[in-house]
Each structure stands twice: as C-alpha cells, then as structure tokens.
C-alpha cells in the first residue's frame, strides 16, 4: 500500500534513545524525590547530595525533552500503526502531547522551587556547574510552587505509567508499536 504522507518510516535512533533516556531519568528522579525529603535533617551531607542528584536529573530531563521536541518538529513521527483504532490513535496523541507538556513544566517548576526555597542551597549541575537562581527566596511562592511541582510530577508519572501500560498491551496484541520505539 503506498504511503499517504511524507512521515518517516520509523523512529530515528535519536528519537528512540532520547525516549528511553527520559523514561530512565524519571524512574530515578521520582523515587529520589521522596527519599531526599524523608532523609532526616541530621544527615546533612546525604540530604544535600540527594537533592543535587534529583536536580541534575531534572535538568537532564528538561534538556532531553527540548531536544525531543526539536527533533519531533523537524522530522515528525512515523504514521500511527493501522492496527490501532482511530479513537485510540487520537487519545494516544493527546496523551503524548500532555506528556511533552509535563516533561517541560515539571523541571521548570522544580527549578523555581529551588529558587524560592527558604533554605537557599545552590543548584550544582553534576555537582560542578552552578545554575543561577532567576528569582530569590519567596515565602508566599515557595509552598505554592512546591505543591504544583509535586502534583505535576505525580501526574507525569501516572500518565507515563498509563502510556507504558498501553504500549505493553498493544505489544501483546501483536502490534509493532513497542518494537518500533525499542529497535526501530
């Protein structure tokens, strides 16, 4: 059957690698967030290091998400698998869009949380590169931004889990969607 659009045949290696890299980064950053908050204040060094790791992972997610969006705009995506009914294709498209938005919003909110925190700890990317704070400590904004960051992160993880579950479900039905993202 001739192809109706000029969509690429498959996901490029860059698209695939960035996809799994982001998944991996989130799988690390999310649990670290809960651990770093739970570590008692007496363990100052451990707490500090966990926060730095979490912030570095978050910044990496932001960078990767921006790269993915750039590639997506330039190259587009392969056509939807014809085995998926139209309504599922639409729903998946919307879910992916929501995920892209959250991939940007969550790290940006996290950065703002660090900026407005009452305990001003510098953000060191990979423990080396200081990331300047664009705003300073803010008593009214900090709790709000923190609540938003946490809620958005939980939403991101829930949507990503649904996204993964759908992919596995379709894979088990024999559709190539997961294989396309794994190996092209």
């Amino acid at each position: 059957m001739p192809r109706r659009t000029d969509a690429p045949l498959r996901w490029s290696p860059a698209q695939r690698r960035l996809h799994w890299a982001v998944a991996f980064l989130i799988l690390l950053a999310f649990p670290i967030a809960w651990v770093m908050a739970a570590v008692p204040f007496e363990e100052l060094l451990l707490k500090f290091l966990l926060f730095q790791v979490h912030k570095t992972l978050g910044l990496l997610v932001l960078i990767a998400a921006l790269l993915r969006l750039a590639i997506r705009f330039r190259r587009g995506r392969p056509e939807w698998d014809p085995g998926l009914p139209g309504w599922q294709q639409k729903a998946a498209g919307r879910l992916h869009a929501a995920l892209y938005v959250l991939l940007l919003v969550v790290p940006v909110l996290g950065y703002l949380v660090a900026c407005t925190a009452p305990v001003q700890i510098p953000t060191l990317f990979f423990g080396i590169l200081p990331i300047p704070a664009i705003v300073g400590e803010s008593k009214p904004w900090f709790p709000l931004l923190f609540a938003l960051h946490r809620a958005a992160a939980i939403a991101l993880v829930l949507l990503a889990t649904g996204h993964a579950a759908a992919a596995i479900h379709n894979h088990r039905r024999g559709l190539p969607v997961l294989r396309r993202m794994w190996s092209g």
Partner: protein
C-alpha cells in the same frame, strides 16, 4: 530635626572628654564608667558557617541581654557581660533551627544560655578595639577574641550621640564539642554582632 552622620576620626571617649573640658573649663578628668543595659533592641547577634566550602548558612539569636560598662576616659577599661538566649535562635528554616538546638549542637535542653564575659579591651587602631574574654557554650568555656569597630556615630538633634559598633570574631565549633556533620559543615563559625549605644551625656557643672 537634623540628622548628621559623622564618620569619626577620633574615639568617642576622647570627643566627649574634649567637649566636657571645653564646656566646664576645667582640666579635670571626667568621672567613672557608664553602664549600659543592652538587649536585642540595641543590636543583633549573628553567626554563619560554611557548607562544603561552597555556601554559607546563617543564623542569629533573637534574644540576648547584658551589660556594657564604658569609661569614656579610657575605653580599654570597658567591661562586657552578655547572656544569649539559645532557644531564641532563628535560621533559614524551622528544621535547621531544630537541628541547631539539638544535643549534638547547642543542646538547649542542658545549656539554655551562651555567656560572654570580657577580660580585657585593647585599642589597636583608630576606632578599633580587640575585646578578649571568655565564651561559654554548651558548658564549655574558652577564651574568645572579638574585633570591635566603631563604624559610625549618629547625632540626631539634641539627643546624645549614638555609636554603632560592628563586632566580629571566629570560633571553632569543635572546641565546644560540636563535631556533628563535619563532612558537610565547616568547623569555623563566624560571629557578626551589631550594637548601638547612646554615648554618655556630657556632665553638667555642679
């Protein structure tokens, strides 16, 4: 009411003495020391410590009380005795304040006050004084030196002049038994104290 800021070139004691002699027309020394009761209304007591050598964490004590006796004729006879209310410590977060009050740090339960008593004061330059004394933290007493600098004198209308002092010093927290989190917090604690005093009124003749 006019407000004039003078950057002092001479010690306040000498200024007061000179004016007193001019007004009284006598070559007698001005009498004894004036005692000031000071507390948090007259300044602040703060400290800071380095974290990983990268950034500082600051705190201050909201309540303290003490007495400073100054002899205008001889500032080196100054005597200072201050008690700081440890429980009044304020830090950037409640968690930090709680940590700093815990037994590993100030141990407020056992030692609710920090005491400083001066033993001597030496003039080491125009408007600079080295204050030596004994500092007691956490039940441990060590000699402590502080540098007091007269930073400004303020005259408002007919009120007596007010002298502003910045007092700084450093101590090693491990010397007082505070060795926790040595892998994160520096051992050196910087002290920054600001105090302002209204200088003694010029004595009236008979």
């Amino acid at each position: 009411m006019s407000t004039a800021w003078r950057w002092p070139r001479v010690r306040p004691g000498r200024v007061v003495l000179a004016l007193a002699l001019l007004l009284l027309g006598r070559a007698t020394a001005v009498a004894a020391a004036t005692s000031y009761d000071i507390d948090q209304r007259y300044g602040s007591v703060g400290f800071s410590v380095s974290e990983l050598g990268l950034f500082d964490t600051e705190g201050n004590f909201r309540k303290f009380a003490g007495r400073i006796a100054i002899d205008p004729a001889d500032p080196t006879l100054t005597k200072i005795d201050v008690a700081i209310d440890v429980a009044s410590v304020a830090m950037s977060s409640a968690q930090a304040a709680k940590l700093v009050l815990s037994p590993a740090y100030f141990d407020v339960g056992e030692h609710p006050a920090i005491r400083f008593r001066s033993t001597s004061v030496a003039a080491i330059g125009p408007n600079r004084y080295r204050v030596s004394g004994l500092l007691r933290i956490r039940g441990v007493t060590h000699p402590q030196q502080l540098m007091a600098v007269l930073t400004a004198e303020k005259i408002v209308g007919k009120d007596p002049p007010t002298a502003y002092f910045t007092v700084t010093g450093k101590l090693h927290r491990s010397a007082f038994g505070m060795t926790a989190n040595g892998n994160f917090l520096g051992d050196v604690v910087r002290i920054v104290i600001h105090i302002h005093l209204a200088l003694p009124e010029i004595a009236q003749a008979n």
